[in-house]
């Protein structure tokens, strides 16, 4: 094992140490974070266990029992949160909607984060032509309207959950690329990197072992902020009719339908609106705390 390798391990070890400290901090010291972690785990559980939790079939329509207010009973079925514009049980759609909303947000953050970070680090590390190409590509993608990308993606690949993820990843990767690029540049002159260069570590090794651990904190902070945004973007795509396909429930889709019923059947939008709010709130608070913990701030 070379000196560089040891250094590298210490880089990841430091991360693990900080993570442990964070977990300890969350557990023992900072009780104020508990409710937010609880909300996130609750939604995650809802998403994972929806078939067992949901009180009814989220797709089952009842055209004669449409727009029933919360706590009503229709033909012997109790609807805790009422029914929607097609008479479907809102509570069940919330439970299943967690699945879609969390999956879309999680996957798009993962995809855009992985792509953006890799390109950003590569640009900063290799400099030269790659740097110019990647950073100009970032500019190009930042100036194409997201809606244009969305419509074209749907046109070429067809609609669906995976393509929503793709649309979001295509529009959001430049943010990660910029952060990764800036952070990598700021550590570029550090001795351990120069040393690793000197002993001839490969680009892949340099990036994975030496650079990534040093900038992962910043990326995680961006990712948590983006996570909340992705949930909202999915709602925006639903508003424009380009989101996850009906009848699959998603919180964003439910909210955008509910908008037209605010004045006549408020409960259609209330539940998904509250869930979206709680999710974005919890993710942001935890993200803020993470950023304090890593003592990193993102411009």
């Amino acid at each position: 094992m070379t000196e560089a390798g040891n250094r590298a391990h210490s880089g990841w070890r430091a991360i693990a140490r900080r993570a442990r400290a964070f977990a300890r901090g969350a557990g023992a010291v900072d009780r104020s974070l508990w409710p937010f972690l609880f909300i996130i785990s609750l939604f995650a559980l809802m998403a994972l266990l929806s078939p067992w939790i949901a009180p009814a079939d989220p797709l089952r329509q009842n055209l004669l029992g449409r727009l029933a207010p919360p706590l009503s009973e229709i033909r012997g079925v109790f609807h805790l949160l009422g029914t929607d514009e097609l008479g479907r049980d809102i509570a069940s759609r919330i439970v299943y909607g967690a699945r879609v909303s969390l999956a879309v947000a999680f996957l798009s953050v993962l995809l855009s984060g992985a792509a953006g970070a890799t390109l950003g680090m590569l640009a900063a590390y290799r400099r030269g032509l790659i740097e110019t190409l990647v950073m100009r590509l970032v500019d190009v993608f930042l100036s194409i309207p997201a809606i244009l990308l969305a419509i074209i993606t749907v046109a070429v690949l067809g609609p669906g959950l995976w393509n929503v993820v793709l649309v979001l990843a295509l529009t959001r990767w430049p943010r990660y690329a910029r952060v990764a690029y800036g952070q990598t540049l700021s550590i570029a002159g550090r001795p351990f990197l120069q040393y690793a260069d000197y002993v001839g570590a490969s680009t892949r090794r340099q990036i994975l072992v030496h650079i990534l651990p040093n900038i992962v904190g910043a990326l995680i902070v961006v990712a948590t902020l983006e996570f909340g945004l992705m949930v909202l973007f999915e709602a925006g795509l639903s508003f424009l009719g380009l989101g996850v396909q009906p009848p699959t429930p998603s919180w964003g889709g439910m909210l955008s339908v509910g908008k037209d019923y605010v004045a006549s059947a408020w409960w259609l939008a209330a539940a998904p609106g509250l869930c979206l709010f709680l999710l974005v709130l919890a993710v942001n608070v935890v993200g803020d705390r993470l950023s304090d913990q890593f003592e990193l701030r993102v411009r």
């Binding site: 329509q61 055209l63 449409r66 067809g158 009906p246 009848p247 019923y261 006549s264």
Partner: protein, 509 residues
Amino acid sequence: MKQQEVRLSRLALVVWVGAVAAFAGALADTAHADVKDRLVIDLAGEPSSLDPHMQWNPDSYYVYRNIFDNLYTRDDNGEIRGVLVEDHAYLDETRILLTIREGVRFHDGTPLTAEDAAYSIRRIFDPALGSPQTGQFNKIVDARAVDRNHVELTTDGPYPALFDQLVKLSVVPMHYVEAVGGDAFNRQPMGSGPYRFMRWRRGVDVTLTRNSDYWGDIGGFETVVFRAVPDMSTRVANLRSGASDLVVGLNADIVRQLHGRSGLKILTVNTTRVAYLRLNTLRPPLDDSRIRRAIAHAVDKEAIVAGLLDSYAEPSDVMVTPEQFGWARDVPAPAYDPGQARALVKAAGGAAKRPLVFATAPVFDARIVQALQQMLSDAGLDVRIETTDMANYLARVRDRGAQAPHLNFGRWSCACRDADNVLYPLLHSSSEWSAVLDGDLDAALETARGTLDADRRLRLYSEIHRRVAAESLLVPLYQTSVIYGARADLEWRPTPDESMFLNRMGWAP
């Protein structure tokens, strides 16, 4: 130094706040005193063109139709009535002489002559104009002014739907259009209609003023403003807050907000559009008539109309409405029978297990599409909704290849009163909008298109409806209605053609 900076940033802030306020102030001088002489109408979008020979999507049509006079119109009862044409006479089967009304003047005072009428017809075919409407009038091969008030039209064969098409033809002033050119004409349209064009603030609104010298019924409002308000909830909010007097494009659920509100009312009328489920008979498994029949049996039109549309629609078994020529009653269409549907699907075996792609677009009511999907799923079919924007949806529907969707939702809009304009494009094998290959059907459609004998045509269309029902080539769903929200004291009778004649509107005394 520091002090200076502070002052500078304060100055910047003041300038900025001032700029925003000044902009707001600039808007203020366009604010209006709320006078009853001003009617505000909220459309879903702004007109794409005010040149009547270019576009005729509803948002353009609502507006320019009031600036121009057409050769014919339909009265409130749907009867064709001459406007600029006083009389017509057939010279033979393909030539017709129109007598143009005298004493009509354009807004600049120039008299409207047969020359203008003939020019307007010829202008539509002019390849240099590139009008999307060309195809609507391509049966007319020539139009020429015989004298000051007579126009002779020549068609390329007997053409029963001619008058129905001429209802859509606006007459433009030849001298003006030729002098200023198409761009300036579109910017500053001038016609002979009951309202004059005043201004078009792009993206905001179009304002018309009353033509007090109009030869016919004079409009009831001094000025009329058409605004573009894309969101339906916002249009209703505008109506409720008193910002607008008439709003278009509402659905049955949103008008629940207007129920029981004093000062507001709901206006509705059944249109000439039939909502339908198109089955792609060219693509397996829908080439199997059993599965098509299963779909027809699985759809509960009554439940959709009563449950989802609050009966703002009429279940329909044919693709034509009673307001149109070619409608037929008592066509034996497959009735709602979920048991029969399930049995047919079962009988079809493995083929019925294939996933069916159901194409739709954001403009179509997603609730209806989902309800249909549920009904078909209940029959044992695997139906997947695919929403794409309108441009893609139309391309997919026209596609006849292996990628074409199995099913699509549609709402045929021919803005016409003749079955030919609905059935021919939807069913004739030569049309790209059709997914049917049926020689007998083609022959019947062609004969009906080229016959002037009304009784014979009615019999032919009745046959066609029966064949469509027997083979389940399409599933007609319901006659759609159009729903408007209005101030209670606005007197207006909406028409099935979704036109909006301002001079047939007024305030209740």
